[in-house]
Symmetry: C2
Subunit: 466 residues, 2 copies
Amino acid sequence: MKKNIFVLSTFEMIITFLFLLIVINNSQSQGNSSKEYSKIAEKFVRVALQDQQGYKLLEDLCKIGHRLTGSENSLKSIIWAKKTMEDFKLDRIRLQKVMVPKWVRGNVEKATIIQSKYYKGKELHVAALCPSISSNGIAGEALEVKSFDELKANSKKAKGKIIFFNRPMDPGNTNTFYAYGSAVNQRAQGAVEAAKVGGIGVIVRSVTTKHDNNPHVGSMGYVDSVIKIPAVSIGLIDADFLSEAITREPGLKLKINLNCKTYPDVESYNIIAEITGTEKPDEVIVFGGHFDSWDKGVGAHDDGAGCIQALEILTLFQRLEIKPKRTIRCVFFMNEENGLQGGIEYGRYADTAGEKHIAAIESDRGAATPRGFTIQSETATLEKIKSWLPYLQKALIEWVQPGGTGSDISPIKKCKAFFGYVPDAQRYFDFHHSDNDVFSAVHVREFELGSAAMAILVYLINEEGL
Amino acid sequence: MKKNIFVLSTFEMIITFLFLLIVINNSQSQGNSSKEYSKIAEKFVRVALQDQQGYKLLEDLCKIGHRLTGSENSLKSIIWAKKTMEDFKLDRIRLQKVMVPKWVRGNVEKATIIQSKYYKGKELHVAALCPSISSNGIAGEALEVKSFDELKANSKKAKGKIIFFNRPMDPGNTNTFYAYGSAVNQRAQGAVEAAKVGGIGVIVRSVTTKHDNNPHVGSMGYVDSVIKIPAVSIGLIDADFLSEAITREPGLKLKINLNCKTYPDVESYNIIAEITGTEKPDEVIVFGGHFDSWDKGVGAHDDGAGCIQALEILTLFQRLEIKPKRTIRCVFFMNEENGLQGGIEYGRYADTAGEKHIAAIESDRGAATPRGFTIQSETATLEKIKSWLPYLQKALIEWVQPGGTGSDISPIKKCKAFFGYVPDAQRYFDFHHSDNDVFSAVHVREFELGSAAMAILVYLINEEGL
């Protein structure tokens, strides 16, 4: 008799029953973990917002002052950080030695109009870029340009002049990081390009859309083959003034006075703490920000906030009494702003220490309300992370998408996925690298939601792997 | 012969050809309009961010001061608004008369500890709620409660006392409007509930999570059947102080001094301007905020920003030289805070004027970076609007979802869809109804993105209908 396909043998029935059991069980455990994840995500958010612990730590840190790489203040802050980690009784607290540049701003920082019918004696609000040489009181006419092309086209006029790079950061772009990137070459390579055509000094419009008079500083480069000339940034109000003044009186003469100086490299440190995994201690989820700042403001947003958020991920796990099965590690990277020596050193360690880095997360875009995460990974990993959006949304994360992640984690070669934490960035460049970057510019709820957003991400990676 | 189904008659061929033509044409125009919409959305964003026109208008408005319903300042602001609309040469500029309540804070506003071993003479930072009666120097012991239930449970102790409602706004909830809603009954109905059990006055913890000492004011209610008692709000620092003081010394006595007063209703106005539609002038897309504010701060976020964003939608259409086919109308609603008379009057007009309101949009959640739109509409309309997300995202709108929209537009009965503009709200209640709500608390880029987000929405509704 031909077997009826709807009549099952006992064996088949048992197999089918077991299969159904597995399916039901799986879907239940899926359901449970989904609910469980939601609950834990909500807890991370609630505890962060209620305790405000990280915010208070950031306040303490900011009271020490700026954390310019190689400065005495930077060392004081490192000691504070290590002690803070010890007070939390975290695991394997370490200082990882790195040699870093040491540049000191000095106490003279002036640009003065010294020859003019209308403006003689007017002082402009400028600040040395790093590692500018001192100025030796250079003086000359100012030549305003908006781009390197314009400079080249006017190269005959440039000799002996102070080159004034005055291209604004585009205010019309909602992607402020893109707008910043499109203007910052004036600051980064302006001194080299100016020197190539005979310029004797450089004044760069601050890369910001905030219309005040605080210069926004930052790093710039020299190359061996081109003579070094001094370089300063200028606040937007004075940049606009200078532009108008030059238009009115093309021959006016400026003098720049700086006594900044570069010293031999000094010893500094990455600061590292973790909660060692209970089941897979060799699998590492690393997260951090850069601990160095500029010496204008105190680096509250850039990147004190990112460091303290990373530390708070660990203390949120403690407060929720979650013992991670994988190692979760916080790194305060040294010297992102002018050398990346900390990132490079940690990358070297990560790729050779016999551990397996599965994820690296960076927070270095300020402390405003969460918007998303950028990710560098294989597509399957990206899709997995996208499926976690319902949990991440508890901390107001709206999206995960491919994109650049972070400088400090970029030297790590062996790592499954890199993440950049992306908060709202409409006001970030108001503060960035300037006297505006102070603790009072950080909002407690917005800051704490960043800690919670990353803690949820770390929790999910720890639970699910990548 | 049976007709081969693949052999078409001439007539059928012509029909097929015409059909294909329509399909191709449609898909082309779809493709074109999609690109066109993207380009126009980007333009709205760019022009808003570059010009900062609305932001400058908001600054002018805020210089006039607060706009409490019925106040002289409010009338000055109405004149400014009408003149501003006229300067832009908008269509059909109108003042729509409404009778509104008039309540005046007076010049005495004190709560003093008058009997205490430790704190005698200490003055607390309080502000009258509206329309509180004057206090006639009431004095009594303070009884702290966290809820109406707790008050009822302690009703025997309440007689002759000043009831101190001290339940905090929940800081652990990311939905700050929900947290506000969960605490605000103490302010709204506290005086009635307190009077019912014999209380002689009310002090309410400010409904905010901002830990400073500015009282956050707002409306409260009396009912005819219950005796009216004076009511004030108190800043969080003094609320915490008072709670500690009462715990330490339960019998301490307070005196409240207020000379606020309610006057007969006065005449005020909604202010309306539009760009009349070229093809369907009777189809109206209305948008606005409320023009009245409290008399603490100047109502920069609440809701000067919403009004000026609405006005800027019209001027963005002008600047982009888009002549809408439907009528697009901006309304500055009067008296949302303590009566909604402007909203009610406009609703009456909208439902009876022989026009067809197809969409009503309200901006009354502050001027931070855009996050989404809440919508009240049929499902098909909601789905249509969701399909516009790629264009709305140009202004950083991440989602559209069902939800409550706005008080001022709620009296309109005949309207296809209602929209609430939802910016980030983590810091909104820092400012709300307090001296913190000043122009400097509004960020230019965040504000302008709100104008752009709503302009894109209005543009799409105008083009596509609902």
